[in-house]
C-alpha cells in the first residue's frame, strides 16, 4: 500500500496520492484501488484515511453550520438569502415570527429587509432541495453593527485553530468580538475601528499563510508589534 506524497505536500487535481487499502477522505476520490486528489491542496493522513485540505474552494452547505447570509428577496413564506454557496437558502417566516405567522398581517420587510445581513444556522439541506435556515437559537439573527470580511471558506478551520486556539488568541489580543460564518464571511465588532483593523490584518495573514506551520505564534507576535507601534503613534 504505497503512498506517493508526504503529509502537507502540495497536490494538484488528478495527482495519484495512494494506492491500495486506503479510505478516500475529503477532496479525494478512489478509482480502481487508486486514490487521487480532486483539488489543489495539501495531503493529510489520518490512519487509513487520506484527505486533501483544499487551498481554494467554495462553500457547500452542511446541516448545523452557522453562516452569515444576505437577504436577496422576500417571498410570501419567508426570505431568500445569498449564503455564498451554489444554492440560495430559504429562511421561513414561521421560524422568525413569534406565535403563528399570518401573511396578511405580518410585514416581512419590517423584520429583515433586502440587503440585511443575518446570522443563521442551516437546519436542513440535501442535494435535491435548497438549504433551509433557522434563527431560533441564541446569538443568531440580524447583524446590527460590526464589519464583515470575506475569506476562502476552506480556511475557516485554520482561523479557528486547534480547539479554537487561534481565534481565542485574536479575540484576546484585539478585544474584538469575532463571529466566523462557515461560508467564509467573518463578522468583527470591536470597541473601536483600530482594533477591528488589527483583527482583520490578523485574519488576512492567516488566510494567506494558512498552509505554513507555527502560524499562531507568528500572528501573536505580529499583533503585539502592531499594538506597540500604535501606542507610540499616540
Amino acid at each position: 500500500m504505497p503512498t506517493f506524497f508526504e503529509r502537507k505536500q502540495i497536490v494538484t487535481p488528478g495527482d495519484l496520492i495512494a494506492e491500495g487499502n486506503y479510505i478516500a477522505g475529503e477532496n479525494t476520490f478512489k478509482k480502481d484501488g487508486k486514490l487521487y486528489s480532486t483539488h489543489i491542496g495539501l495531503v493529510e493522513y489520518e490512519e487509513r484515511k487520506v484527505s486533501v485540505v483544499a487551498l481554494k474552494g467554495f462553500y457547500v452547505p452542511r446541516v448545523g453550520d452557522t453562516i452569515i447570509g444576505k437577504v436577496t428577496d422576500i417571498t410570501m413564506g419567508g426570505w431568500i438569502m445569498d449564503i455564498k454557496a451554489p444554492y440560495a437558502a430559504l429562511l421561513r417566516a414561521s421560524d422568525v415570527v413569534e406565535r403563528s405567522y399570518r401573511p396578511q398581517k405580518d410585514e416581512l420587510s419590517s423584520i429583515f429587509d433586502i440587503g440585511d445581513l443575518v446570522i443563521a444556522k442551516i437546519v436542513s439541506y440535501d442535494r435535491t432541495r435548497d438549504p433551509l435556515l433557522s434563527i431560533r437559537e441564541p446569538g443568531l439573527g440580524k447583524i446590527t453593527r460590526g464589519q464583515i470580511i470575506e475569506i476562502t471558506p476552506t480556511k475557516i478551520p485554520r482561523v479557528i485553530g486547534r480547539k479554537g486556539s487561534m481565534i481565542s488568541m485574536i479575540k484576546r489580543e484585539t478585544g474584538c468580538h469575532i463571529l466566523l460564518g462557515q461560508n467564509g464571511l467573518v463578522l468583527i465588532s470591536g470597541k473601536n475601528p483600530e482594533y477591528n483593523r488589527l483583527a482583520i490584518i490578523a485574519i488576512r495573514k492567516i488566510e494567506k499563510e494558512s498552509h505554513t506551520s507555527g502560524l499562531t505564534d507568528r500572528v501573536t507576535e505580529m499583533l503585539k508589534k502592531e499594538k506597540e507601534s500604535e501606542i507610540k503613534n499616540d
Partner: protein, 244 residues
C-alpha cells in the same frame, strides 16, 4: 489544399520559426490573474494569448435550463476583434460556437458535475491573440481556471495538436502550418487517468501517419502537463517559500 511554393520545413529539418519537428512553442502560464472571477488563468503559447475565467457553481438562470442530476457547464470561446490580422467581428461566429462546444465536451469528463445538481458553471475563454492551436491552448488554460476556482476535478485536462506539414509529422502547429499543411490533429487528455477527451482530425493521413501524429500529440500533452502543474502550484508555493 492548394500547393504553395513556400517551404515550411528547411533542408535541416527545422520549421519556419526554427523549431524542431517535435518541439513545442514557448509557454508561459499564470494562474489566478483575475480577482473578480472565482477562478482564472492565462496562457501564452508562442504568439497565442488566451485568458480563461470561471464563475460558479451558482444557481442556473433561466431556471428551466437547470439539470436535475448534475451541474451545467456553460462554455464560451470568444476571439477578440484584434486577435487576428483582419479585424474579426465580435459576434460569435459558426467556428467559435463549434469550438465552445468542443471545449465543453473536452472538459466535462474531468469535472465532478454530479456533485452540484441544478447549478451551473460559467466558463469564459477570451482569445486576445491567435496564432494557431487556440482550441488546444484554451482547453489547457480553462482546466487551470477550473482548478483555481476550487471545482472538484478528476484530473487536469491538457491539450496539444500535431499534424503533417510538407510531408513531415510535426508537433504544435502554428497558424501557417495549419493552413498550408496537410493535416492537423488536436488531442486533449487527462494524463493521470490516461483518457482521451478530445480527438479531431482535419486533413488527410494514412493510418500509420495518424498513429505517429497521435503519438506526437501525446508527448506534447505530457510536456505541457508538467508546465500546467507547475503554474498551478506556483500560485501557492511562493507564499510557502517565504515562511519555511
Amino acid at each position: 489544399m492548394t500547393k504553395s511554393d513556400e517551404k515550411l520545413i528547411d533542408k535541416n529539418g527545422l520549421r519556419i520559426d526554427g523549431r524542431k519537428p517535435d518541439e513545442l512553442r514557448s509557454i508561459k502560464i499564470k494562474v489566478g490573474v483575475l480577482s473578480n472571477a472565482d477562478g482564472s488563468a492565462y496562457i501564452e503559447q508562442g504568439k497565442n494569448k488566451i485568458l480563461a475565467a470561471i464563475y460558479g457553481p451558482h444557481e442556473t438562470h433561466p431556471k428551466h435550463l437547470a439539470l436535475p442530476d448534475r451541474s451545467r457547464l456553460k462554455c464560451r470561446y470568444h476571439m477578440a476583434p484584434f486577435s487576428v490580422d483582419e479585424r474579426k467581428s465580435p459576434a460569435p461566429s459558426r467556428r467559435e460556437i463549434e469550438i465552445s462546444k468542443v471545449i465543453r465536451h473536452a472538459l466535462e469528463p474531468s469535472i465532478f458535475l454530479e456533485y452540484y445538481p441544478r447549478t451551473s458553471i460559467d466558463l469564459y475563454i477570451e482569445v486576445l491573440q491567435a496564432h494557431g492551436g487556440t482550441r488546444c491552448a484554451s482547453i489547457t488554460v480553462a482546466s487551470l481556471a477550473l482548478a483555481d476556482g476550487g471545482i472538484p476535478m478528476r484530473d487536469l485536462t491538457v491539450a496539444c495538436a500535431a499534424g503533417k506539414v510538407d510531408g513531415h509529422i510535426v508537433l504544435d502547429l502554428t497558424d501557417n502550418e495549419d493552413k498550408k499543411g496537410q493535416a492537423d490533429v488536436p488531442l486533449a487528455i487527462m494524463p493521470n487517468l490516461n483518457a482521451i477527451t478530445l480527438l479531431q482530425m482535419d486533413g488527410q493521413l494514412t493510418i500509420s501517419e495518424f498513429e505517429e501524429t497521435v503519438e506526437f500529440a501525446l508527448k506534447g500533452c505530457k510536456q505541457l502537463y508538467e508546465k500546467q502543474r507547475e503554474a498551478l502550484k506556483a500560485k501557492y508555493v511562493t507564499v510557502e517559500g517565504e515562511e519555511e
